[in-house]
Subunit: 117 residues, 2 copies
DNA sequence: CCATGGGTTCAGGAGTTGTTGAACAATAGG
DNA sequence: CCTATTGTTCAACAACTCCTGAACCCATGG
């Protein structure tokens, strides 16, 4: 398992891949949370999807260049490549995270939409 | 053909749908061009895809709330819903258009990255 | 040694996407 | 009327997406 995981370089990060990766609500939730926590293990996102599925989504984010995955013993620690994304597509990550938090309620887990007009 | 085309209201615009719509390079090129020209007919994008295909992509953009389609005689005039997008997801459209132009070279067809500061 | 917690890999399935060609519809001009 | 321009609808297709269960690997700790 000590295989090196593939990550695109900063220059290789492709806009289509990033938008595709972030068009999925589950992946966007993961990203939004990493924004606050900095780094987390895969297992911390068990609320969003099954273990198998999480591997899939994590790979999707990693291959798009959105996250970096570091191997730490038996765990995979995931973090945001915020600086790389900001350098390549300024303002993009922030706009998407803000939009995600606005839609999901930002801190409330349920949908407590205050019924906007 | 004088059917009314469906457009989501500003509040109905969904982030997943927008990102999904803009994850396609063809649709992003259309959007990037509308950014400069304001309003154009479907046929003006014939360089990007076939007629049939253009109908598909235009519908995708429209249904996501990214563009508005106005019927003008035999033509369909497409324009960006920039204000609606900006109100809903501030900075998003600008970041994506900028990234698109950086990748496509904005005027050069090939990849001649002049390494702007 | 065996078990456990943390992740992966594989095969498969239901659904979606991007694309095409053929046929059609609607508006406008001779 | 006939024709051209502009765009739609439909059926089909290969490829991909998201998700699942079963099996597996790998590091640690009794």
């Amino acid at each position: 398992m000590a295989k090196e995981l593939h990550h695109p370089t900063r220059e290789q990060i492709d806009l289509s891949a990033v938008l595709d990766a972030l068009s999925d609500p589950i992946r966007r939730q993961i990203v939004a949370r990493l924004r606050h926590t900095g780094e987390e293990a895969c297992s911390c996102f068990g609320e969003f999807a099954s273990k198998t599925n999480l591997t899939y989504h994590a790979a999707r984010l990693r291959e798009a260049g959105v996250t970096r995955t570091r191997i730490d013993g038996p765990r995979r620690m995931i973090s945001l490549r915020a600086a790389d994304l900001e350098a390549r597509f300024p303002g993009l990550l922030e706009a998407i995270v803000a939009g995600t938090e606005a839609e999901t309620g930002r801190s409330a887990p349920a949908q407590a939409e205050p019924a906007e007009a």
